[in-house]
Structure formats: C-alpha cells, structure tokens
C-alpha cells in the first residue's frame, strides 16, 4: 500500500534535526568485553560504555537490535559479547558506512513511530519482533520497506561480525583453529567416506 514507506525526504529532514541536536561524546573508555587468556592485556570492562559514534539513543537502539539478532537464550549472546561496543567502534572508524547506519536508525524509529507510536527502543518485544520480522523474512516483506530491509541486512552483518569474532562467539562455534596439533588432523570416519551414516547431531 502506498504511503507505508517513509518518504526519503522525511528521513532526511529528521536526520538534519538530529545532527543539529546531538553532540557526540569523544573518545572515552571502551572495551570489546571479550577477555582472553594469556595475552597480558588488562581485562577491564568499564561499568558504562560511552559511545564514540552513536548518540545515546542511537546506541541504545543498536544494543537492542544486537540482542534481538543474537539473543542471550540460555547461551551468551550479543549482549555478553559486547557486540554493540564493537559496532560503535568499527562504525566510528569507518566514515564510509556512518551515513548508512544513521539513516537506517532514523528510518527505523520513524517507521516504529508510524506503526506503533514510539521509537523502536521504546516498543515492547512483540512489536519489535514484528517490525524486524517484516525486514528479515522474505515471506513477510512489505512494499515500501526496502530501505529498512537494507538497514536490517547491514546491522545483522555487523552484529554477526562482532559476535563471531569475540571469544564468546568463537567458543559457541567451537572454533577449532589456532590450536596446536601434533599431526595433520584427518577425517574421523574412515569407514564412511560418503558420510551417510554419521551419528545424529546433538539437538
């Protein structure tokens, strides 16, 4: 239905207002929040992260999105791995992507306002899931939301990058690299070369 999408003009107007109003905290304490043994680096997570690029509201939205994309659901997720800190740091280092993030976050809040009457971070979880679901699943795509889908793709990519390069994320994959092996590790199923009779995976 026409009019469901935000006019690009409208987003640009909101962006211009936001740019005038917000001030960005400068370089401050920050941490990747992924401790690791043996490197000799000091492991300290400051009690409160001060974003380098995002405004406080934007950062809260990024943190919320990261938690929805890789949730803490019995095993640690994006929150525990400090993914939003990673995203803020990498975006602050990359002028080439900053506009896309700022534009996308603005779109998301404006769209949330239109559908649910409030900024994305203020919605309840079902409403947030509903809004993201329309951007994430092909069979729920709506006309006029392509800019939102592009932003979801972007924030999902950065969330995955941040999570699966953290100690927590690599442990969840059970990443077997960077270990020392005495000899070349070979396939453990020599009697089943086609791998048709492997033991059923753990659920």
């Amino acid at each position: 239905m026409a009019g469901q999408g935000l006019e690009r003009r409208e987003v640009l107007r909101i962006l211009a207002l936001a740019a005038g109003a917000s001030t960005h905290p400068g370089f401050s304490r920050w941490s990747f929040a992924c401790g690791h043994g043996g490197s000799g680096l000091v492991q300290m997570k400051p009690p409160r992260y001060t974003p380098r690029f995002f405004s406080a509201d934007e950062y809260a939205t990024v943190e919320r999105l990261a938690r929805l994309i890789i949730p803490s659901d019995g095993s640690p997720g994006a929150h525990e791995a400090g993914v939003s800190e990673f995203i803020d740091f990498i975006v602050s280092s990359d002028p080439g992507v900053q506009y896309r993030f700022r534009y996308g976050l603005t779109w998301l809040d404006a769209h949330a306002g239109k559908l649910h009457g409030g900024a994305f971070r203020t919605l309840d979880e079902p409403a947030q899931n509903d809004l993201l679901g329309r951007l994430a699943y092909r069979d729920r795509y709506r006309d006029g939301e392509d800019e939102g889908r592009a932003f979801f793709k972007l924030i999902r990519e950065y969330t995955i990058m941040g999570f699966y390069t953290s100690k927590i994320g690599l442990e969840q994959l059970d990443y077997p690299g960077l270990r020392i092996y005495a000899e070349s590790p070979g396939c453990p199923h020599p009697d089943d070369p086609e791998h048709r009779r492997l033991p059923a995976p753990k659920p």
Partner: protein
C-alpha cells in the same frame, strides 16, 4: 670515467623465491654477493601475528576500514605493514589491476599459498600440444626435472604419487590427511571423472632439513612463526649468511642497472629509503629477481647510450606478454551430510589441502571450447568466520542455531586459470608518473581475454556439478572473476628463448644483449599454466644461478 674495481662478484636484486635461491646458490659457491631488498627485514616473533585470535586485534582482524577497501583481502590486520600499495604502478585506460606488494625481505614467500606443483611438458611444449598458439618454452621437462627434485628436497613438499603425466610427480613428504569434506567432495568428483587429489603442498608434515614440522594452527598466509613452510628468510638466507659471503642491504629501492662504455653492466643504482640518498654498488654480474613486473621496470628504466630502449630490450620485448592467473570463486554451497556435526579442524594450512588439477583438454587439445586448461582449489569446513551467514535468513535463536548447525558444512572453490599471452597485455614505463623516490613507475595494460573467460564459465559449471554430485547444495558463485593482479602470479615480461630478436633472455635467464645480467624470477616464463609459479621459479633460478657460477669461474660473463 675511470673503471671501478667491482666490490662484489654478484649483485642480486630481490630476496623472494628467485633472489633467495640465487643468493644461497652463489654464496655457497664461494662468490661474494650484495643482495638488495626494497623493504625491511621482518622479525617473526614480532611481525607474525598468526597466533592471535580475532579478538586480540583492534579491528578483529578485518583491519582499519579507513585503510582497507574490503574486509577480506590478502592484506589484512594480521599482515598490516607487510604489504604496501603506494603508487608503484599506474594503469592504462580500461585496465583494472589490484596489486599489493610485499617489500619485506623474503617477499611473497613469507605469505605464499604454498601450492608447489611441477610443471610438465604439457606446459613447456604447450604450443606443440595445442597446435601452435604462441611458442614452446626453450626447456623441456627432462632438462628441468632434476632441478625440481633438488628444490623439493631443499624446501619439503607434502603430497602423494599420483601418476598423472599432466602433473609430474616429485619427491614428497607424507601428505596432509584428508578431511570429512574431502572424502565427500572426492566421491562427487570420482563420479564425474574429475581428479580430487592432495595438493603439492610446501608444508612440512614432518621435520625437514632442521625445520620443525607444521603445528596446523591454520593461519599460514599471515606468516609462520616456526618456519614450517618454505620462505627464503627461514630456509635460504640463514644458509647464505653462514658462508660469510652475503651482504644484505635492506630498504634499497633499485632505480636502474648501470652500464659501462662496452655495453656491459657495471653495477646498480638504488635509493636508500631511510636516507633518501642514491647509492651505487658495483659487481661483476647482476641477477634481477625483483618479481615479474618489477624486474621489467628495472630493465626498462636502465637506459643509456648503448641501451636506448632499456637494458636487454633490443628485441622490444621487455615488458611484453604479461600473463596472470585469473582467480575467482567458481562456486560455494554446503554439504548437508555434515549438518550439526561437531567442529573439526578443517582450516589447517589455511584450508589448502587438496586440489582439482587440470583435467580439461588432456585426451585431445581441442576437446573444450578453450585451449589449455585450469585447476580448481576446494576449501571449506569449520573456518574462522561463518561467512555463510548471508545464506541463512532471519534473526534470533533460530539464526544462532542455524549458524552453528551449518558450521562444518560450507564449501567454496576458487580457480586458477592461466591467461594466454597477448599483444595487448604488457607493461611499459609511465611517461609522467614517478614514485616517491623519483623512479618512473610502470604502467599496466591488462585485460582478461576470451580464452580465460571461457574457462571461467566452464569452471563455474564444473564446480556446481561437483557440489551436486557430492550431495551438496549450491548457494552461488562469484559474479565476476577477481581483479587482474590479485593472484600475484604474474609471468612473462622478460621471456626466455633462443632467438634474440624475439626473447629478452636465453634459456638460462641471461639477457641476450648484456652478458653479465641474468633474470631469475617468473618474468622469464613464457606464460602462466594451471600450476602455481613458486616451485618453478625456484627450479629455474637454481639452474640460472649454477650457470652463472660456472660462467664466472670460467671468466666468461
């Protein structure tokens, strides 16, 4: 000007595979060598970051986005500072050429892919085999085979005896073991008649010549801190230094080779990167091994009254016939047989374990729509980063589960396709642009030709067939091949041959025009093949160096 007494027997320009072999061979023969290298010496303990986890790195291994133009590239945060891409070249209109340079001592051998197959007569007699396209190499397999054997003994190559004439067997260490994905893909290849075999891998599966065996950490292309695969700083330079005959000058950017009134070379002029001063060094002979394009640049910049068009260029062929390997992702997908299985260290040796060596145009040279042939390298399994996430929809717990479930399953293939020599692919000297040392840069003229693009299409179809025949699902393939230059496998530019009117060097790498200048890198090759270049650079450089030793002893250069 009074003739100076030569300070050294030989100047060697470059310390990569060709230069390193020349340095070692000449020093061990008792000759004094001045080696010039354009960059610094790396310290493995400090400069190799291969054992660091992504979260040990400021940008998680992706590198500072302000400095990098993509997340995945040979030049990343682990190798930051080892590769340079200042303006050392320009490109002609219509040419895209992506070409990072490793100036560190040892050059690209510090980070190379380690695939080390012999070339065979199918490669050397290629014009005869395929019915007259271009020319044969001036050297047969029988002549070069003993040098291959000696090189394999020096550097250690792991593989198996495979009995395929198109891929001559060598002297091998025990092979890397096959992984689950290799067994599955191998079955698929068997059913299609495509070879799926252990690569010829210059990686020490057992201790060799005083070097410790590989510990299979998996990050080889970020530099090896134990020296368990061949590189000249680990393998050759210590042997040369032990002779007391080597002086290695680092940060020495060569401007040109200097001539005498009699038309022979008397030495080399270089710029010291630290002092910015120009320095001259003299010797009885010069070995140029600065890598294919850089060597051509040096010869073309070496102009004088005797060499108006550049040293060794009376034929006009210096810089011509630039060839490269077309690389690209020919396909990717996943193997459902491995869904949800426990993690397995598939990424040992940077996933370089097997290859699918050329199988096209073997029975007859014109079976396919293209001439010659290409190889494919499969990779996959549990890597570091789950790049396949793009294939999985959605978010939340389901996404997390799906990423984990697919972790052992992804496979990806890349091709190694030789470009055919072409009159329109070459380098010359840019008439206007100089580098920061005041040295004129090369200008690259290069585009993929129809033969290599036909192979690229063929390779994509073959890859999809292999994934499906193995019971896998195809996700996609690269839309375009990688940009030319990406493989860092340039050949040609100073080709060898018997006819001085058509070739720059003779079959021993000695320039036809200037008897005391030799070339010992892939620039003397007639072109690319489906095999990598390093092992052949080493074999030909060994032969060239011994020829030079012999000539110097007989006073005949």
């Amino acid at each position: 000007m009074a003739a100076k007494t030569p300070e050294y027997d030989v100047i060697v320009i470059g310390t990569g595979a060709g230069g390193g072999m020349a340095i070692k061979t000449l020093c061990e023969a008792g000759l004094t060598v001045c080696a010039l290298n354009s960059g610094r010496r790396l310290d493995p303990a400090k400069d190799f970051r291969n054992h660091r986890q992504p979260y040990d790195m400021v940008y998680r291994g992706f590198g500072d986005p302000r400095k990098r133009d993509g997340f995945y590239h040979i030049e990343n945060e682990y190798t930051d500072g080892h590769w340079e891409h200042g303006i050392t070249y320009t490109t002609a209109p219509g040419t895209s050429w992506e070409w990072p340079r490793c100036h560190a001592v040892g050059g690209k051998t510090n980070f190379w892919g380690r695939s080390a197959a012999r070339m065979g007569d199918i490669d050397f007699k290629t014009a005869t085999v395929d019915g007259g396209y271009d020319v044969d190499w001036p050297v047969s397999y029988d002549e070069i085979a003993p040098y291959y054997s000696r090189v394999e003994r020096m550097i250690g190559v792991a593989s198996t005896v495979q009995g395929r004439p198109s891929n001559p067997d060598g002297e091998y260490l025990p092979p890397m073991k096959l992984r689950c994905l290799d067994h599955i893909l191998g079955r698929g290849c068997d059913s299609l008649g495509i070879p799926y075999l252990p690569d010829r891998l210059a990686q020490l599966t057992v201790a060799h010549e005083g070097h410790p065996p590989c510990h299979y950490c998996g990050n080889c292309t970020e530099g090896c801190d134990t020296g368990s695969f061949f590189s000249t700083p680990w393998f050759f330079l210590p042997l040369a230094e032990k002779t007391g005959k080597l002086e290695l000058r680092t940060n020495a950017v060569v401007r040109s080779i200097l001539g005498n009134e009699d038309g022979r070379a008397r030495g080399v002029a270089y710029v010291d990167r630290e002092t910015k001063q120009e320095v001259e060094v003299n010797a009885r002979a010069v070995v140029v091994a600065a890598s294919c394009v850089e060597s051509a640049r040096i010869l073309l910049n070496s102009t004088s009254r005797q060499w108006p068009n550049g040293l060794g260029n009376s034929s006009g062929q210096a810089g011509r016939n630039l060839c490269d390997h077309l690389y690209g992702t020919t396909g990717y997908g996943y193997l459902p047989q491995l869904l949800g299985q426990p993690s397995f260290p598939d990424n040992v040796s940077a996933s370089q374990v097997v290859w699918m060596p050329r199988w096209q145009n073997l029975r007859s040279p014109h079976q396919e729509t293209f001439v010659r042939g290409y190889s494919i390298y499969p990779t996959g399994g549990c890597g570091e980063f789950p790049w396949y996430h793009e294939q999985i929809e959605g978010f939340g717990s389901q996404l997390k589960r799906d990423i984990k479930r697919h972790y052992p399953t992804p496979v990806s293939f890349y091709c190694q396709i030789p470009s055919l020599p072409s009159a329109t692919n070459y380098v010359d000297i840019d008439p206007e642009i100089k580098d920061r040392y005041g040295i004129p840069v090369v200008r690259v003229h290069f585009q993929w030709g129809p033969n290599e693009l036909l192979m690229w299409e063929h390779a994509k179809q073959a890859t999809a067939s292999v994934i499906r025949a193995a019971g896998g699902t195809v996700w996609g393939a690269g839309k375009e091949p990688y940009t030319p230059g990406w493989s860092l496998h340039e050949t040609g530019t100073l080709r060898m041959g018997n006819d001085p009117r058509r070739f720059v060097t003779n079959p021993f790498g000695q320039t036809h025009d200037v008897g005391n200048v030799f070339v010992a890198d892939a620039s003397v090759f007639l072109g690319c093949t489906d095999k990598t270049t390093t092992l052949s650079i080493l074999a030909f450089a060994l032969r060239t160096s011994e020829h030079l030793v012999d000539r110097l002893r007989r006073g005949a250069v």
